[in-house]
Subunit: 195 residues, 2 copies
DNA sequence: ACCTGAACACCGTTCAAGT
DNA sequence: ACCTGAACACCGTTCAAGT
């Protein structure tokens, strides 16, 4: 049934792919949101098993988050949904459980891990949505930003001018790896929420 | 011109509000994306000035990021755009400059600040998009999640079961404040990117 | 020359009407 | 009883035709 979704995943597209009319899907799903949620959960099935069983917890956690990000990255429409709704379903739950387990292994308290989980999942999801818009547009925006930075009036924007090209340095992969390190360092350093 | 946008901000809606046909906006904007970008930049105008001029850099930075988040929070359609495109325009630039300045004040290296800027802006943007879907849906999703956590099979999901209610604890404001602390602690702790 | 809105190609969702 | 697709209410974008 819900096998392919690399392009835009819409009700009508799936309906016509199934040789039926729109509205027929509403027997199986309540909503477009629900449709996306069900697809995401099936896409997530192989993720928890793919994480290495040995090695430092931190490396395993980063591998898990990268895999999660990769899934969303290839399905931007689904990523958009994952951002607005807490993913539910057995496989999403398995991913969450694995993350909590690895954080516990790293000595993170349950309270911090509970809130950290959301933060850790939010990053790859947001990145996937960010890259969702066509790549050409992204490159164009980058070029525009580069031009703006280069031209930035040092009097009005002293810090932008000083930092300069560093703002544009690095590709997606190295930035993601760095971001996971920031998040994990932050989670290890932060004090427990006083909820 | 572009004054109100608390609901859904669409080409057609603005066009009819301006007593003209759709397509007429294309004289002023290239795209829906461009429209949103221009609106965001005007919304951001008062933000940099609103940050307190005295006090610890960290508190001022958190105040700035909160203000940025508040703007996006009241305009979810715009937030969606801000997630997919690097905000451009003079006021976005001023916000970026202020953040870089505060990080420098905190002793963060330019290299780290450059990458940290993106990460710091990503969080409030993603949260704004997340809250974009109608509040009732969010509450429903929460209830569903609560049910799932409560019912979680401790054999299959041992960590979810153990952490339990902590996953659902805290409101948006306290979670956001905590997340900013994680990000800042992480940025202060992380090693410089080896770009 | 410049603005415009009809037209095109899409959406999600509902619900009367068929099987 | 159950599935369906015509119909409704929206979108963004283009471009021929008017001013």
């Amino acid at each position: 049934m819900r096998e392919e979704g690399l392009g835009k995943v819409t009700m009508r597209r799936i309906a016509t792919a199934l040789d039926t009319g729109p509205g027929s899907l509403y027997v199986y799903v309540r909503d477009t949101e629900d449709l996306h949620a069900q697809i995401l959960d099936t896409l997530l099935a192989p993720v928890p098993a793919g994480v290495p069983k040995t090695g430092p917890w931190r490396d395993r956690l980063k591998a898990l988050l990268s895999d999660y990000g990769r899934v969303l990255h290839t399905h931007p429409t689904i990523a958009r949904m994952a951002l607005s709704t807490q993913p539910s379903g057995p496989n999403s739950m398995a991913v969450a459980d694995a993350i909590l387990g690895l954080l516990a292994e790293g000595g993170v308290s349950d309270q911090v891990a509970a809130w950290g989980l959301d933060l850790l999942l939010l990053y790859p999801t947001a990145i996937a949505v960010e890259h969702g818009s066509s790549t050409s547009l992204k490159a164009e925006g980058m070029a525009e930003l580069a031009a703006q930075v280069a031209v930035a009036d040092p009097a009005r924007y002293p810090n932008v001018a000083r930092v300069g090209d560093a703002l544009l340095s690095g590709d997606g992969a190295s930035r993601s790896a760095w971001a996971f390190d920031v998040l994990l360092d932050g989670i290890l350093a932060v004090r427990s929420p006083s909820a």
